[in-house]
């Protein structure tokens, strides 16, 4: 982001207002007014500009919402909201927000949305669900959800009689990571990640681009690691921000990470850089691993990764030197090439060998608060389970897989007949989803969508249930696996705009129409929260004052050095060799597979995040739009020269299957690998209701058409796609 962009923007905005000399401005400058202002009214809530859920403070000055800042008592943000959180008011004021329920109607031979009353929208939705339940059973409803508000709809649908509640956060994001770590350590990596970077002596990032990935406390503790002069090792084909902070940047050939990991493990074992006492006490399958790893020398790994053997040795030795104060960062968005659970396994094995789990400077042991559930009847046992369809295809999927459900709904004889979508923009989140959803739309009895903005997903809806923003509603208590256990409360801080409603209200209204009153035996969700808080020794009124409440840890944050460690694996040990994988017919030790090479004239399509935006949710936020109105496609100068493309020009990307992107501006930069392009995910909106975001930039998701699935857990691999360039005629 360059300041020139702002000046250009200001010139546009100010066009026509030619200024003559003033006799002094009639109004004082903002700083002059603020010098005289009284204190702002402050209320407390939890941010939802991304899922990090930082506790926040809303400042209202003389009745006007002014700014949102971080709650200083919150470990997620330490009083500092990120770029998106700071811009939260933009979501509230976005003129394109959904503020009225919509119903798809047939009119004049076509279809369109009609603004309806809430009763009509809710009656329609509940009527469809009841009819479906009577004809096929309530278990034939599927939901795809994201975020804190998902809990309300999950509760509703479990009460209704289905367990098919999938989050893209699993099969389109964290699933392989959590599965690989679960198989090795008996539990997945939590969110926030339990990476003890502030105490680490070495931090290893494999594709994780912290900094551009602005997860608040991750950035803070990564910066702590830099300040503490920890050795940063960053593996990335791109010179990411995190690569720029690294002492060792390994500019790896895309798709070869497992080879590098095997090379590192080979060095650590062949040079005996591990703690033999730890390995003997706490791990299982070391002998099998040692035998397996022997051929995967750094020289072999060089041939695959392009990283010199000497650098592989040097970095492995640094990790071991500092172990266990070495964070092998698990990353987050892990669906890359289809062997992602095995890559996560290789990372977990490396971490396991180094004794990182439960070590100071490694992975701390997270704890959460025991928040009691508000008493409601037990859920009925669904007549069919998501597992029936899913485990046949992906035997070790630990959570419902969105793509399995969507494939079913787009098939000739779908099992699932209705889809409820809450707060997730599937067409830009799941690869190939627009075509799949279009097919599913012809079969399903109902597609109901609840969102705050007219996203691509709402375009597929029969009924749109407009939710108010996080600034206007209560949600379930934030209670996550933490270093320091705490809860935080999202509470309304501003009046509700239009007829939008909180998720809990929408779910309760549907429940009442479905005869499920007993599951929502309260008038207002604040009663549930107060009931829970009272049992934790707090109250709604206390939380309104503090925003965050801390609880004492029940166990230490680290294992006692030298003492035997207990893991939740079948063997109770760190499973370097996985019997579970072997028994399910998978490689018990991670196998390296060569992935597709780029065709002549094509480039690896790599994508990632920008600190200004979350997924495809924030591009229409008028504040964030000013910081980043469009994404740029990064081309190496060699690629730009080969195609005679100039910096700043608009081009279209064409993928290996002939799919053409929206036009996107080029940034020619040395920071991308000569064989790869890179762009930020979430742009290239096609929903016309998003007036700022519509048509700006290119959607990586539209170009990701070759999508092998991870055979272990069903994750959709999104990295094995390639693009070439088509020049746009000058505007």
């Amino acid at each position: 982001m360059q300041r020139r962009d702002f000046l250009k923007l200001s010139a546009t905005l100010g066009g026509g207002a030619l200024l003559g000399p003033l006799a002094g401005c009639a109004r004082e400058a903002a700083w002059q007014r603020m010098m005289q202002a009284g204190p702002a009214k402050v209320s407390r809530t939890v941010c939802n500009m991304c899922f990090w859920s930082c506790a926040a403070e809303m400042h209202v000055q003389d009745g006007t919402p002014w700014k949102i800042t971080g709650n200083p008592d919150d470990p997620h943000c330490a009083g500092r909201l990120c770029t998106r959180g700071t811009a939260g008011l933009g979501a509230y004021y976005d003129p394109n927000r959904l503020v009225k329920p919509l119903l798809r109607v047939n009119r004049g031979g076509g279809q369109e949305f009609s603004v309806v009353r809430w009763d009509d929208a809710l009656d329609f939705t509940a009527g469809k669900l009841q009819k479906l339940a009577a004809e096929h059973g309530p278990d034939r409803v599927a939901a795809m959800v994201h975020g804190a508000g998902a809990a309300h709809f999950a509760h509703l649908l479990r009460a209704f009689g289905t367990d098919a509640l999938a989050e893209p956060a699993f099969a389109q994001c964290r699933g392989p990571r959590d599965t690989g770590f679960f198989l090795t350590f008996g539990q997945g990596i939590s969110s926030p990640e339990q990476t003890d970077m502030e105490n680490a002596r070495c931090v290893v990032l494999i594709g994780a681009h912290i900094g551009e990935n602005l997860h608040n406390s991750q950035v803070r503790s990564f910066a702590d690691a830099i300040r503490n002069d920890a050795t940063i090792i960053t593996v990335d084909p791109r010179f990411s921000v995190a690569a720029g902070k690294a002492r060792h940047w390994l500019p790896i050939k895309p798709g070869t990470d497992i080879a590098l990991l095997l090379g590192w493990i080979n060095v650590i074992i062949s040079e005996r850089l591990y703690d033999p006492g730890h390995v003997a006490r706490n791990t299982l399958g070391f002998a099998e691993l040692a035998g397996y790893i022997a051929p995967f020398t750094p020289e072999w790994a060089y041939g695959e990764t392009g990283i010199e053997a000497a650098r592989i040795r040097e970095t492995a030795r640094i990790m071991a030197l500092h172990a266990p104060a070495t964070v092998v960062h698990p990353g987050r968005h892990a669906v890359w090439w289809g062997d992602d659970t095995q890559r996560a396994r290789a990372m977990a094995i490396l971490a396991g060998l180094l004794g990182v789990w439960g070590a100071k400077g490694g992975y701390y042991l997270a704890e959460r608060v025991a928040v009691p559930d508000y008493p409601t009847p037990a859920y009925p046992v669904p007549k069919s389970s998501w597992r029936d369809l899913t485990l046949k295809q992906f035997p070790l999927a630990g959570a419902p897989v969105t793509n399995v459900l969507l494939d079913d709904m787009a098939s000739d004889a779908p099992h699932y007949r209705a889809l409820l979508v809450y707060s997730t923009n599937l067409p830009m989140t799941m690869p190939n989803a627009p075509a799949q959803l279009a097919r599913a739309a012809q079969k399903l009895d109902l597609i109901a969508v609840s969102d705050v903005q007219p996203s691509e997903m709402t375009g597929f809806a029969d009924v749109v249930l407009p939710e108010c923003t996080y600034l206007e509603r209560y949600d379930a208590l934030r209670n996550e696996d933490e270093r320091d256990p705490c809860i935080a409360l999202r509470a309304p801080t501003l009046p509700v705009l239009g007829e939008s409603k909180p998720g809990w209200w929408i779910a309760k209204q549907l429940a009442e129409r479905l005869g499920l009153h007993a599951y929502f035996p309260w008038g207002d969700y604040s009663q549930v929260l107060d009931w829970q808080l009272q049992r934790l020794g707090s109250s709604l009124s206390e939380m309104a004052q503090v925003g965050v409440k801390h609880f004492a840890r029940q166990t230490p944050p680290y294992f006692t050095p030298g003492a035997p460690q207990e893991f939740k694996t079948p063997s109770g040990k760190i499973e370097l060799y996985s019997e579970t994988l072997a028994a399910a017919g998978f490689d018990p030790l991670p196998r390296y597979t060569r992935h597709a090479e780029r065709p002549e004239g094509f480039y690896h399509l790599n994508y990632g995040r920008a600190p200004q935006h979350s997924f495809s949710r924030t591009q229409n936020n008028p504040v964030l739009y000013q910081l980043m109105p469009e994404n740029l496609v990064w081309l190496h100068p060699l690629a730009a020269t080969a195609f005679d493309i100039k910096d700043g020009a608009y081009i279209r990307l064409v993928n290996q299957d002939g799919v053409v992107s929206n036009k996107v501006r080029v940034r020619v930069t040395e920071r991308t690998r000569p064989d790869s392009v890179w762009l930020v995910h979430g742009f290239g909106h096609t929903a016309q209701g998003l007036e700022l975001a519509y048509g700006r930039g290119a959607a990586d998701s539209s170009l990701i058409t070759r999508v092998p699935c991870d055979p272990i857990m069903g994750g959709t691999a999104m990295r094995g796609n390639f693009v070439t360039f088509r020049k746009e005629a000058a505007a």
Partner: protein, 180 residues
């Protein structure tokens, strides 16, 4: 003169532009304008590269040529400090200060027409608070204080770390420091 300085650690800055955002919200900066901005400077060729992010703004110079250039006294220093502010009620929008600023840090406030700029959030400084950009920085890469006080954090950082300022050759004596 009380001298305030901002010290920005380029080692930990990740270029997230939260400083720009926080400034906009705190100071009600109109859409399309900004008082601070982030510059990315990349040098080298793949794979021998370095990138530095710099959060830039008014340098609140000890020798402020903008104040000297102002014909009405609208550009002035606040409370016997180096903090440069513009009194909008006597600013004629003549732009002499824009021409006199080596940092291109002043802008025309549309639609009112007076000249706006970073004030180091003087309304916060007056209450003993850090400027909004400093207090929001998620990487804690920004510091604010009194550099002539050796006990201050900015004083300690400037005494112990390698630093530079922008365009020191102008003689303006800028007070935004970048740690290498």
């Amino acid at each position: 003169m009380t001298r305030y300085a901002m010290v920005i650690d380029t080692k930990t800055c990740v270029g997230c532009t939260d400083c720009v955002d926080a400034c906009r919200m705190e100071n009600d900066v109109p859409a399309g304008l900004c008082y601070d901005w982030v510059v990315e400077a990349t040098s080298g060729t793949y794979p021998d590269l370095s990138t530095e992010f710099r959060s830039e703004r008014c340098n609140h110079c000890s020798h402020p040529t903008c104040v000297e250039a102002c014909p009405t006294g609208a550009s002035q220093t606040w409370n016997a400090s180096n903090i440069v502010v513009v009194d909008a009620t006597i600013c004629t929008g003549c732009k002499a200060c824009i021409a006199a600023c080596p940092y291109d840090a002043r802008l025309i406030m549309m639609p009112d027409g007076y000249i706006g700029k970073c004030t180091f959030c003087v309304q916060r400084v007056a209450k003993g608070l850090d400027p909004a950009c400093v207090s929001v920085c998620p990487a804690r890469a920004m510091y604010f204080g009194l550099p002539d006080d050796p006990g201050s954090e900015v004083g300690r950082l400037l005494a112990t770390r390698d630093w530079y300022t922008l365009a020191p050759e102008t003689g303006n004596q800028p007070n935004v420091y970048y740690l290498r």
